[in-house]
């Protein structure tokens, strides 16, 4: 496949070979994976990458993963949740080891992104591993010293399913984090376990009157429920950016 060769013309679509430098456990089914990708060239918070696996018989599978890191440089962090029926995520979570090579192309997508030049209030709403691109925005926000007010609503099954838990439990001064537990909340938690509702968005999100930019990422059903509720609460649809993911 000469069109996608390593010796190509530097197009984003060219596949690059990265080397895994470290793997960290985020949850029972989740891992964050740090990869050195020569000629990656940095990325904006919220962008994603495609990962390609090739079997011995030449069969390939390509899936998209959000990048949890942001900024210049050729070292990136992904965070992946194992989907039992997935073709790629079980390999990334269970088999991949430090020192292994991985084919990637990117950074991809310039729409679901946040840059430090943005000064307006930002509401982040993540479901499950939908936290990953939002984490890149949180890190970019902190690293740039941005004073834009940030709020995160993070919906996960239980506290043990949370990615980046330690980082999110001690947020920076301009970030407020609200946890939504859908299956099991810690004892003494005031909100009973259950899926995110319009009442959660109203109680903990920036009000529509403030015209925040809203980023919503998660499984398709989660994103559509949240986006509809936001519009019903008066948020301008054009200020609500969404990214859905399926089973990978």
């Amino acid at each position: 496949m000469t069109g996608t060769s390593e010796a190509g013309d530097g197009r984003i679509g060219n596949w690059k070979v990265g080397v895994v430098t470290s793997i960290r456990r985020e949850s029972a089914s989740g891992r964050s994976i740090t990869i050195d990708v020569p000629r990656w060239g940095g990325n904006i918070a919220g962008q994603h990458t495609d990962v390609r696996l090739t079997a011995a018989n030449g069969y390939t599978a390509v899936r998209s993963y959000s990048v949890a890191s942001a900024g210049a440089g050729d070292r990136i962090e992904l965070a992946v949740d194992r989907l039992p029926t997935g073709e790629v995520s079980p390999y990334l979570v269970d088999t991949l080891r430090e020192g292994d090579e991985l084919e990637l192309r990117g950074p991809l997508g310039g729409w679901f992104v946040w840059t430090p030049q943005q000064t307006e209030s930002v509401q982040l709403i993540g479901g499950g591993s939908g936290i990953v691109p939002l984490m890149a925005m949180i890190r970019s926000h902190e690293a740039s010293g941005s004073t834009a007010p940030f709020r995160l609503l993070y919906s996960v099954r239980t506290p043990l399913d949370a990615f980046f838990r330690a980082e999110l439990e001690s947020p920076s001064a301009n970030l407020e984090v609200t946890w939504i537990f859908t299956r099991g909340a810690p004892s003494g938690w005031s909100r009973p376990a259950g899926r995110i509702t319009a009442a959660d968005l109203e109680a903990h999100g920036f009000p529509a009157a403030l015209s925040p930019t809203v980023f919503v990422c998660g499984p398709t059903g989660f994103v559509e429920t949240v986006a509809s509720a936001l519009v019903a609460l008066g948020h301008e649809p054009n200020r609500v950016k969404t990214e859905r993911f399926g089973g990978a």
Binding site: G13, R63, W111, F112, R244, G246
Partner: protein, 85 residues
């Protein structure tokens, strides 16, 4: 496959063919006239075939079929595509 994703998923596959970012390109739906960035479109059938539907009226904007030796792109559902330079 019944669960759809959105036009953000087009960025990688179309990077094989084009130098522009499809997620920030805006299209006018030939069915209802709605103008929106492709990131907001609904995408069915990934990962190898993409049926891209208007988020407003659900008409098909474009179809992309990838096989081992070719891409086929059908575009009649959009009147135009505007690509930021």
């Amino acid at each position: 496959m019944t669960e759809h994703v959105d036009g953000n998923a087009l960025a990688g596959p179309l990077s094989d063919l084009f130098t522009f970012d499809p997620t920030t390109a805006s299209a006018r739906c030939a069915g209802c006239g709605d103008v929106s960035v492709l990131a907001r479109a609904m995408v069915y059938g990934e990962p190898d075939t993409f049926v891209v539907r208007c988020a407003h009226c659900d008409d098909v904007l474009m179809t992309i079929v990838q096989t081992r030796d070719r891409f086929c792109i059908e575009l009649r559902g959009m009147t135009w595509l505007k690509i930021p330079r």
